[in-house]
């Protein structure tokens, strides 16, 4: 067994420990290291696929992009919610997806849920389709394109597939 | 030796925990051996503890080295140590019986038995009222688990009632505890006793409600009418070793009434003196009556014995209602006697039921028993003892209780009810015995199991206790009365346990 079966996790745990304790003292760094090593060792057996993040920097950029989208999305949603409901045009739509890994699909679905007026409702059994519900569906084609280009492509790059 | 007082709790706890761990958990033989050895050791410990307490007086075990009233203390006085000895002896016999094969009927029999004993011993020994609650819960949860041991519809059904009723009881217990803490500001029972006398006005009223709620809870455990209805079916459906150890469970409730309503809310409780008596008087007598009706109504031996448990609980509660030192002494003796005898009878009922084919322990004609002589003698001893006929322990207990009712008013109520219930027991048990042993169609049930020597030994030990209790009645009664004296005298039961009061005189 390798010392760090899940290096990304270990890093995450290390950071999270320091955040939890609001401290970067030597003592807590030691503890953080301890947990960053032991917990992945304990839980590595509980993972199915060892999906690797190929391009971490792209991931960070993606993160901040989504964050920005979330904020704009919310203003849109807020407007729709508070405004007259008669004008609302909700709808279901199927989006074909190319990502194959579960992690990729999950990230995509989550992003879709957090961003403008869409919620991921379901993923088809063959993992080829993402079904989403849009709060205000005006242009289906545009929505499909946005999802595919703005979100799916970067994710594919990040995960390297 | 200084840690003796906690051993009756820690020994079963550690044994129980170890029995869950390999290598002890892997084979039944190991579990049995460790269980028997542990209980034997506990008997030795309890006996030494009793002797030590009897010679040197009440001792306190200060857990975590935090003095009362702040930390939890165990109080080893004559009463608690006597009951601990009773409990471990009973457990030894019941467990021994279980080792003959009942332990195979389901998982975790041995550790659960240990935890059960730990809970009971803890309830007897603790000097802290919240800790009493904790031990109540330990003994209850263990009893729930043991009650379903062996499986079957009847057990499941009885367990549902038993569990839910006790959960309601636990809630009431906590309400009562909250009130008492909210008025007295302490949890140590001796400290409560010292403080309760100074309560007055609205605080006294609130504390009274708290004490009343505790009375309901203890009454529920002790099988006080109208809280007792769960008992007969529950006990009758339990597997034999479990029913035997359950014989002491009602006594925990009764003991708690003595500890709380006689020691804390006793004669010296000021406005709150003797508050339980108003309720205990009528209810305890009615408990005897309903027990008497119950033994007439019982169609099986197990139910009959279970109703005898109710009846004896009523007799014990009468002693609590009498609220005198003599009565408490009588109660203690009667408690020892009735516990071992009913436990023995539960075991016997099981053996009898197994040998009578489909008739089981119902009072109908059946095949003859396979071991009529041993079982017959055992039954006769148990019946004579529980009826209260001489020369076995029952008569001593009965006379002690009768003598404890001293005023005419007390005698007018207690004597006829006690005596008539004895007569009822005589009639029903003689019918039961003659039917079970003699009313048979000849021939034995061939495939019926013969009781093993281990089972017979367990029954023998329990049954032999009764004549011994009578024979050495002088010493036993003396210990019981010492215990009662200690409990009723605050200078012995309360003040020595509170160092602050002793030295400073906060009183």
């Amino acid at each position: 067994m390798r010392l760090l079966p899940m290096p990304m996790h270990s890093l995450l745990l290390f950071v999270v420990w320091l955040m939890l304790n609001n401290s970067a003292s030597v003592g807590h760094i030691v503890l953080a290291l301890f947990f960053a090593i032991t917990i992945p060792l304990l839980t590595s057996g509980m993972r199915d696929e060892k999906q690797k993040i190929k391009r971490p920097f792209l991931a960070v950029r993606y993160f901040f992009m989504v964050l920005g989208d979330i904020i704009t999305a919310n203003f849109e949603v807020a407007w729709l919610v508070v405004g007259p409901l008669k004008k609302l045009q909700p709808g279901f739509i199927a989006i074909p997806i190319d990502i194959e890994s579960d992690l990729g699909i999950t990230i995509l679905a989550s992003t879709v849920s957090l961003t403008p007026g869409t919620v991921s409702a379901e993923i088809s059994e063959d993992k080829q389709w993402l079904y989403i519900h849009a709060l205000h569906l005006t242009n289906e084609k545009e929505l499909v394109d946005t999802v595919k280009t703005r979100y799916e492509n970067p994710i594919k790059e990040i995960l390297g597939c | 030796m200084q840690h003796l007082a906690i051993l009756p709790i820690i020994l079963p706890l550690l044994t129980g925990a170890l029995l869950l761990l390999p290598p002890f958990s892997t084979t039944l033989a190991r579990q049995r051996a460790i269980g028997v050895a542990s209980f034997a050791l506990q008997i030795v410990v309890a006996a030494i503890l009793l002797m030590q307490t009897h010679n040197e007086g009440t001792t306190q075990y200060i857990l975590g080295n935090w003095q009362a009233p702040f930390g939890i203390v165990l109080v080893a006085d004559s009463m608690s140590t006597l009951l601990v000895l009773l409990c471990v002896f009973l457990a030894f016999c019941a467990h021994l019986y279980g080792c003959a094969g009942d332990d195979k009927e389901g998982a975790y029999f041995h550790p659960l038995f240990m935890f059960q004993v730990m809970g009971i011993n803890g309830a007897f020994l603790t000097g802290d009222i919240f800790n009493l609650f904790v031990f109540f819960e330990i003994l209850l949860i263990a009893s729930y688990a043991l009650l379903i041991h062996g499986g079957g519809k009847q057990k499941t059904q009885a367990t549902v009632h038993y569990v839910i009723l006790n959960l309601v009881g636990s809630s009431i217990f906590l309400f009562g505890l909250g009130i008492l803490y909210g008025t007295l500001g302490t949890l140590n029972m001796a400290d409560m006793a010292a403080k309760v006398g100074s309560l007055e006005g609205s605080n006294a009223i609130l504390a009274k409600i708290g004490a009343s709620m505790l009375l309901v809870v203890f009454g529920l455990k002790a099988a006080l009418l109208p809280l007792h209805f769960w008992l007969p079916r529950t006990y009758a459906s339990a597997s034999a070793p479990v029913a035997a150890i359950f014989a002491i469970m009602t006594k925990v409730g009764i003991y708690s009434i003595f500890r709380v309503h006689i020691m804390i809310f006793g004669d010296d409780a000021g406005e709150l003196a003797n508050i339980a008596q108003t309720w205990l008087w009528p209810l305890s007598l009615l408990t005897i009556c309903i027990g008497t009706v119950g033994i007439f109504a019982a169609p099986t031996l197990k139910l009959l014995v279970a109703n005898m448990v109710v009846l004896s609980a009523g007799s014990l509660l009468v002693c609590a209602a009498l609220q005198s030192e003599v009565a408490t002494g009588a109660a203690l003796y009667y408690l020892l006697h009735s516990t071992v005898v009913t436990a023995g009878l539960f075991l016997l009922a099981d053996i009898i039921a197994k040998q009578r084919g489909k008739a089981e322990d119902r009072f109908v004609r059946s095949k003859a028993l396979k071991q009529p002589i041993f079982l017959g003698i055992g039954f006769a001893v148990g019946a004579v003892a529980i009826i209260g006929m001489p020369p076995l322990s029952g008569f001593v207990g009965k006379i002690l209780i009768l003598q404890a009712a001293q005023s005419t008013a007390e005698m007018i109520w207690v004597w006829p009810i006690m005596l008539i219930s004895s007569l009822a027991a005589l009639i029903t048990l003689s019918r039961a015995g003659t039917t079970l042993f003699w009313r048979h169609s000849g021939g034995v049930q061939d495939d019926a199991p013969e009781a093993s020597y281990v089972q017979l030994l367990a029954v023998f030990l329990l049954m032999a206790a009764s004549p011994l209790l009578a024979l050495f009645g002088g010493s036993v009664v003396e210990i019981a009365q010492t215990a009662a004296h200690t409990l009723h005298d605050p200078n012995l039961s309360v003040l020595p346990l509170l160092p602050s009061i002793q030295s400073g005189g906060v009183q």
Binding site: - | K153, I164, S170
Partner: protein
Amino acid sequence: MEGLYAFCVGILTACGIFLTMRGRSFSVVVGLTLLSYAVNLFLFASGRLKLDAAAVLGQSENYSDPLPQALVLTAIVIGFAMTAFAVILAMRARADLGNDHVDGRLPSSIETRKSGKQGGQR
């Protein structure tokens, strides 16, 4: 505030008690859970209510009574153990007895039982 708090405790107690007295095991377990909430709040309040007074040394100027809190903690845990047992017992009873009535028989069958000769503790 105390009045409001007491009112809530009372309401929870009443709700819990009412459900505990129902005939089906699930309702009873829910009732017991509600009742245990009420009990815990009650026991907690026996140390009196205080704001901004967590019993953590150095975190505030005055401290609430820590003892009832410790008691309630123990009570919560024990209550959890008991509820868990009761829940699984309810399942077991359903499996063994074929229904989820706490008496193991449906109320309709009580009528038949009453008219039958065999009563009492069978």
